[in-house]
């Protein structure tokens, strides 16, 4: 069933567009051109961040770091290897993508660690960035309990990512 979700979504929106006499193909093409601009704009970011992340890995810092946090992570059943992803995810989206990709490449995409990293990337957001954009633009200065509540949501996300990866794909 899961296999048909993406193809069916494509089919349904194309049929809906045709029934409304919209030029589906042209819209997909012009969106694709916008997407290409986006790729060009994020490429330098990804080059810089993957350079830094690969340096962290090869220097041995990641291992030291993971074993330092291992007791806490193991207590919650989260693989300690994902420690660096958990710490960077709320701060920078592209850095998290770089770290997550490096984790999947190092430990294997279908390994428990690789899968946990993928689920973490897919189900959490850049919390600090979101808060600063939304509240910054609307002129909110007193954020009250927004950050603690959002970080609790993030933590539950990391915990559940590890749990579901362990249970669903055992």
């Amino acid at each position: 069933m899961i296999d048909y979700i993406v193809p069916l979504l494509l089919l349904v929106i194309c049929c809906m567009a045709l029934s409304k006499k919209e030029n589906a193909y042209d819209l997909l093409l012009s969106g694709g051109a916008d997407g290409l601009k986006l790729v060009v704009s994020i490429l330098p970011t990804l080059v810089l961040l993957l350079t830094a992340v690969t340096m962290l890995r090869q220097s041995g810092a990641v291992e030291v770091f993971s074993s330092f946090f291992a007791p806490i992570f193991q207590f919650f059943g989260i693989p300690p290897e994902t420690a660096i992803l958990v710490l960077i995810r709320p701060i920078s989206g592209s850095a998290a993508l770089a770290v997550g990709t490096e984790l999947m490449a190092t430990y294997g995409v279908d390994s428990p660690i690789g899968r946990t990293a993928a689920v973490m990337l897919g189900s959490t957001e850049t919390t600090f960035y979101t808060i600063s954009v939304y509240f910054g633009a609307a002129g909110i200065k007193k954020t009250r309990y927004t950050l603690p509540a959002a970080l609790i949501a993030d933590f539950v996300g990391f915990f559940m990512a590890a749990l579901t990866s362990r249970i669903f794909y055992a």
């Binding site: 494509l10 819209l27 962290l56 090869q58 041995g60 701060i91 996300g157």
Partner: protein, 194 residues
């Protein structure tokens, strides 16, 4: 500016650790390797970004966001009581949530900011209201139906079933969003002093 600090910090930590652990040659090799991996990652995302940006444009044009918002109205009234009296707020709010669901980040942000502006307390305009906190929690919990970028990365690393993470992603997102809302509700009861 934040990113400058993060990047410099990462390079600094790597260099110091490599010195202490004697991993100098591996560190030096990591620089060109990492840069190359950055291009590879960007290219492996390129196809998926192009396709889904197009799909996103199509979804906006045919008004899929509007259809989804109607379906989510009853749920919206529960989490954001203000939407009952303010149909315009209901519009931007459900637009924001649906755009997030469909993975249309660019469309979600302006509607989210619009919603925050309509939720302002006229007496204390610089203070976050309870509804704003809930909106932020929903946005940071990232309830996304199809995480296309993650799937693209998985394909590029040789995964045969990139979308098999979908159930895990959905369950995780729903749990983190509902626990975040619960936390916001409880903190809202405690946070009365300002």
């Amino acid at each position: 500016m934040v990113m400058s600090w993060i990047f410099t910090g990462m390079v600094l930590i790597s260099t110091v650790f490599a010195m202490f652990l004697g991993n100098g040659s591996a560190l030096a090799a990591a620089v060109p390797q990492g840069a190359q991996a950055g291009v590879t990652l960007a290219l492996s995302l390129a196809g998926s970004i192009c396709l889904w940006t197009g799909v996103g444009k199509l979804m906006e044009h045919i008004g899929l966001t509007a259809i989804l918002s109607k379906m989510l109205r009853p749920l919206l009234h529960r989490v954001f009581p203000g939407t009952k009296k303010d149909p315009q707020l209901a519009g931007v709010l459900s637009g924001n949530i649906c755009a997030n669901l469909l993975g249309l980040g660019n469309a979600a942000t302006p509607m989210g900011i619009g919603a925050v502006q309509r939720m302002k307390d006229p007496l204390r305009p610089h203070r976050a209201t309870d509804q704003m906190c809930r909106l932020i929690v929903l946005n940071t919990a990232s309830i996304q139906l199809i995480p296309a970028n993650v799937a693209a990365v998985r394909v590029s690393l040789g995964c045969a079933t990139p979308f098999d993470i979908l159930p895990a992603v959905w369950v995780t997102s729903i749990c983190s969003a509902s626990m975040g809302l619960l936390a916001a509700y409880l903190l809202g009861k405690l946070w009365r002093h300002d």
